[in-house]
Symmetry: C2
Subunit: 133 residues, 2 copies
Amino acid sequence: MFKELESAAKDHSVALADVLSNLKFDNDGLVAAVAQEAHSKEVLMVGWMDRTAIERTLSEGYACYWSRSRQTYWRKGETSGHLQALVELRLDCDGDAILLLVEQTGPACHTNRPTCFYLTVEGESVRVTTESQ
Amino acid sequence: MFKELESAAKDHSVALADVLSNLKFDNDGLVAAVAQEAHSKEVLMVGWMDRTAIERTLSEGYACYWSRSRQTYWRKGETSGHLQALVELRLDCDGDAILLLVEQTGPACHTNRPTCFYLTVEGESVRVTTESQ
């Protein structure tokens, strides 16, 4: 499926159900899901999804991940209110990663920073480069 | 280490070696690495890195991943010439994902598309939304 799509022309389309059945989940049944803010283009976080999490994200319109630490589904922001409204969901060439374009309410990170990627390597140091909101 | 950094003020810094020693690698010894084009902000791909791949990326200045399919290190573009020059490397709040800001030479995807995320969900279909270059 993904191999065939490699040489497909732009605008070629296939059934979503077939694509989901051919995703390459890892040994834990998961794919990496990158959340990117649809307007600022900032990369917010990386979460994990199984097929159910992908289907919930698409049907509910809000990012729903699988929490590897808590072993449960988790609609991002369900307790904090910092929801991620889905704008677009994309899949990569080999079907083992997902890109979510989202409209993020409030900070994406549980530390109240706008992004989870707030630690920047600078030479032999790592610096906190984003303030809590 | 990462727990302590959660409440650290902006510009607080720690030693890179300590951070690398505390990364949360998965059962295969890997973390997800998202490559984002530094200027266009387009998300190009998701790869995988172990500690050696991270250290090579930092010391060589070009993205070097661990290929899960080929079980070997792989400097992105080493055969195609489509290198990813490292602009900045960031780590996420819980130390299990990496964001690479890169200057991408040529298309990032092996299908000669600018990004690996060229499959877009539209209702019950998935459409090829990016042309090969």
